[in-house]
Amino acid sequence: MNSNRNYHRLALLLAPMLLAAGAHAGVITVDFTDATLSGSPGDTLTFQGTIDNTSDDTLYYINGADISLTGFGVGDYDVPDYFLVNAPLTLDVGESAGPFDFFTVTIPTPFAPDSYFGTLMVQGGPNGSDDDDVIGTANFEVVVNGSAAGVPEPASWLLLATALAGLGIVRRLRRRRT
């Protein structure tokens, strides 16, 4: 029954979101300070933002958060250590929280340069700690730049090859002398 109830609640909540999802949806407005962060493999990106209760008359419990992110693995980002630590338990009408750290994304090494899209969904509800409706959502983007380090430029290759060749010649000359 619980499961069915949750499906029903989720469907009611998601239907309008799927039809006309904005940058944020639901009664809790999720605003990223910067919804697009870019970095290179090895970098850890911290997404920050605020959440606001935009309902007219309802206090909402902030009970959880979900993230879906293309391209990345489960261990590459962390919600509990940030969002749930920083987010308030409840947001009263008109109340705002943040900006605070929502979550981090650590770009694995190596990682293909591209834009990766994700969604942060805040769960909760007006009834208490058991509510896990999606009451706010926002998209974000992780832009992974091309590797700027570790791959020498052609000129560097040339210098290196020249240096190595020089070393080789010196060593051969030394061998002949000995």
């Binding site: 619980n2 949750n6 989720l10 293309t70 969904m121 959502t137």
Partner: protein
């Protein structure tokens, strides 16, 4: 003397052509006006002599049977029928300014009639008139010369030659030489000469004609001095012995560049030209050609041009054929034909040409140089053009006008001719050309009046006498020009722009002189006309507003062309079109509202953009969707509106996996059981969804992971249960449930505050 020759004893007095100002190109003179005055029942006596001053005033002298105070009107109370000499001044517009008359003192002695035959002006504008008769009634002279002031008042006069019962001298020509201040008079004499200091030129010892010489040309030097006329030398010239009929006489005088006299006339009925020293009277050369007479002479300072008439054709001294063959015209009846002859400064033959009349005799009686390369000749007769070229004008309705004006180039080539008068005896006898290249043709016309171009009536009609003195004026016909400028389209710019203004100037011939002044935006620039075109660089000031501006192109004429202009063309400054820069924005996921990141077109001028779709629009999923931007410039006067487009790809919303849970505790094992439901709230299929993480706090689930949940389409859900040991925590304890998993191409994580059951 044969009859045709006697009728030609007249003179043409013109200023030396080489003294006149010349212009590089002189167009065909066009008829201006003509008028009549005086009159006589005797044809030849009316033949006038003319000279023109620098201002275009014409002085006419000759003989009339009755004095006149206006054209064609007899002087009231004229008591003396018969010949009266006259001197008349006519304004450039044809108005008779004044007339002076010189009566016959001895009506019973016709050889004493005052018959002016030659006229010239000195450097002060005083008028010299010479002719036959006794001007001062001293009863001695057969010829006379007199000087009047510019208003025609007598200053001095003198008789020369001799007259008893029969006059033994005749004046035909006279010219003033500004180099020495003398007038030189020529004509014929047959002995008994009085006046001047005869010179021994080797022909007439001691200045006396040999007994067997029937007559000779005389040339005499004269000058007005205080109290009278002072004669200088007088010489007699002839080819001995003179024939029984034709004797020798000079008809016309001019000067070469060294002030030597060039005299054209008749030597024993042959066309003859002499060169005589002005200081000594010595003959330098005489050139005699075929039968006929030379009646007018002009000089370009070196070369000599002679007009005359011949009764038969002849070739040059070395057999040179005439440029235009001798013929008797349309009737084929023998008569006289005009001849034009050119010699070099040494009297050597260069060319000659004949022009006959159609039904009348033609004589060349007046000659003048017109510009540097045209020779004008006039005379009586309905002249036939070269190769029957039609006249510029002919007298309607009968055609075959009575007198002609002929233009040749200086190589004798035919240029044009024109006919006026009536088809009876009608004789142009004089040409005078003023410095403005106005041409005056004078003569007499018998029996009828006639019209000018386009049936223009004379200023004053003929009186009705049997013959009338006529004067015609022609002026250089300034060819009209047409100036056509070209439009100059440019586009507005805040910076100065260099453009080229151009115009073409056309006329009946290629316009090679003058300039075109272009006025645009209050600034005038000029450019010379070269081969009918002119182009000038013009700088349009920066920031000149878009619009149309009149280009005024004015042709400032060069010699021989009329001014013209054109203001029909415009400088069109069209509005500039702003440059819109707009790169295609990056792909956005579905659900992303259009904003500044996407709607970021720029323009190179100030203005505003209106986007379609506007900011805030959430586009449907799809690639290559068009975004358009309409740009409205702030300066709508000078800039057009503009637009730009960009395309954007809207990607489906990635899979959004939402985890919901229901917690319970196993009643037997007291394990915490978390029923996990994973719902795909995104727009794309999540494939191979599986749970890979389940923790409450740090306690990992005891359920084997991964737990496959299969594929989850958008909106689909799948559930599984995760079990945690009973030791995870006591009922009622707060904890954080962490659930995570993967799907093809992504991952999901969920963290929830829970209270343990």
């Amino acid at each position: 003397m044969i009859s045709w020759l006697r009728r030609l004893l007249a003179v043409t007095a013109v200023a030396p052509a080489w003294m006149m100002a010349v212009t590089p190109a002189v167009p065909i003179p066009a008829y201006q006006w003509h008028t009549f005055m005086g009159g006589d029942t005797n044809d030849g006596a009316n033949k006038p002599a003319t000279v023109v001053d620098a201002y275009g005033n014409l002085y006419v002298t000759g003989t009339t049977t009755y004095p006149f105070n206006t054209y064609g009107s007899a002087l009231p109370g004229d008591p003396t029928p018969g010949y009266v000499g006259y001197l008349t001044k006519i304004s450039p517009t044809g108005q008779l300014l004044w007339s002076k008359f010189y009566p016959d003192y001895e009506p019973q002695q016709p050889w004493t009639d005052v018959e002016p035959k030659a006229i010239t002006l000195d450097s002060a504008g005083n008028i010299y008139v010479a002719g036959n008769g006794n001007v001062n009634n001293d009863g001695t002279g057969g010829c006379f010369v007199m000087e009047t002031d510019p208003a025609g008042n007598m200053i001095a006069n003198a008789n020369m030659g001799y007259s008893s019962y029969w006059r033994t001298c005749a004046v035909y020509g006279m010219a003033y030489n500004p180099a020495d201040g003398y007038v030189y008079i020529t004509g014929g004499a047959s002995g008994g000469w009085r006046g001047g200091q005869p010179i021994d030129n080797g022909l007439a010892p001691n200045g006396s004609l040999p007994a067997n010489q029937m007559g000779a040309m005389f040339v005499m030097q004269a000058q007005a001095v205080l109290g009278g006329i002072a004669f200088g030398w007088v010489g007699f010239y002839f080819t001995p012995p003179g024939g029984s009929f034709g004797y020798t006489y000079g008809q016309s005088i001019t000067f070469d560049a060294s002030s030597n006299l060039i005299v054209a006339g008749n030597d024993n009925d042959n066309v003859a030209v002499w060169k005589i020293s002005n200081s000594t009277g010595a003959q330098q050369w005489e050139s005699v050609f075929g039968i006929g007479g030379g009646f007018a002479v002009a000089s370009d300072g070196g070369n000599v041009y002679v007009a005359g008439t011949v009764p038969a054709g002849w070739n040059g001294p070395s057999g040179q054929a005439p440029l235009n063959a001798f013929a008797y015209g349309g009737t084929g009846v023998a008569g006289n034909v005009a001849v034009v002859l050119k010699l070099d400064t040494n009297g050597n033959y260069l060319w000659h040409t004949f022009y006959c009349g159609n039904v009348q005799n033609t004589w060349g009686e007046g000659i003048a140089l017109y510009g540097p390369s045209t020779v004008l000749v006039d005379g009586p007769g309905d002249l036939v053009g070269y190769n029957n070229a039609a006249p510029l004008h002919d007298t309607a309705p009968t055609g075959g006008g009575g007198h002609y004006l002929l233009a040749l180039d200086n190589n004798g080539g035919y240029q044009w001719h024109t006919l006026y008068g009536v088809l009876r005896w009608d004789e142009a006898s004089s040409i005078a050309v003023d410095p403005q290249h106005d041409v005056y043709v004078s003569g007499w016309s018998g029996y009828n009046s006639w019209d000018g171009d386009n049936n223009t009536l004379p200023l004053l009609a003929a009186s009705g006498a049997a013959s009338e003195i006529f004067v015609m004026k022609f002026s250089p016909a300034t060819p009209t020009t047409t100036t056509a400028s070209a439009p100059a389209p440019i586009v507005y710019s805040p910076n100065a722009q260099n453009i080229t203004l151009s115009a073409t100037v056309t006329s009946t011939s290629t316009v090679t002189s003058g300039s075109v002044a272009f006025t645009l935006l209050g600034t005038t620039v000029s450019a010379s006309v070269i081969d009918g075109s002119a182009s000038a660089a013009f700088s349009v000031p920066g920031g000149t507003a878009a619009g149309s501006y009149t280009i005024q192109a004015s042709y400032i004429p060069g010699t021989g062309f009329a001014a013209s202009g054109d203001n029909t063309q415009q400088l069109f400054i069209s509005k500039a079109t702003p440059a819109i820069a707009w790169s295609n924005p990056a792909d956005i996921p579905y659900g992303t509202a259009l904003g500044a990141a996407q709607l970021d077109a720029t323009a190179n001028v100030p203005g505003s953009f209106q986007y379609n779709p506007p900011a805030g629009t959430v586009l449907a999923v799809g690639n290559g969707q068009t975004l358009s931007a309409a740009f409205t410039p702030t300066d709508t006067t000078d800039y057009n509106s503009a637009s730009g487009t960009a395309t954007i790809n809207v990607k489906p919303t990635p899979a959004q996996l939402v985890v919901t849970k229901t917690l319970s505790r196993d009643s037997v094992t007291h394990e915490v059981v978390v029923s996990v439901t994973v719902t795909n709230a995104g727009g794309t299929l999540a494939q191979n969804v599986q749970l890979t993480l389940g923790k409450i706090g740090t306690q990992a689930t005891t359920t084997a992971l991964p737990q496959p949940l299969g594929d989850l389409a958008s909106g689909a859900a799948a559930s599984t249960a995760l079990r945690f040991p009973a030791s995870t925590g006591n009922s009622g304890a707060a904890a954080v449930l962490s659930v995570g998993g993967t799907y093809t191409g992504g991952s999901f994580t969920s963290a929830s505050r829970i209270t343990l059951p």
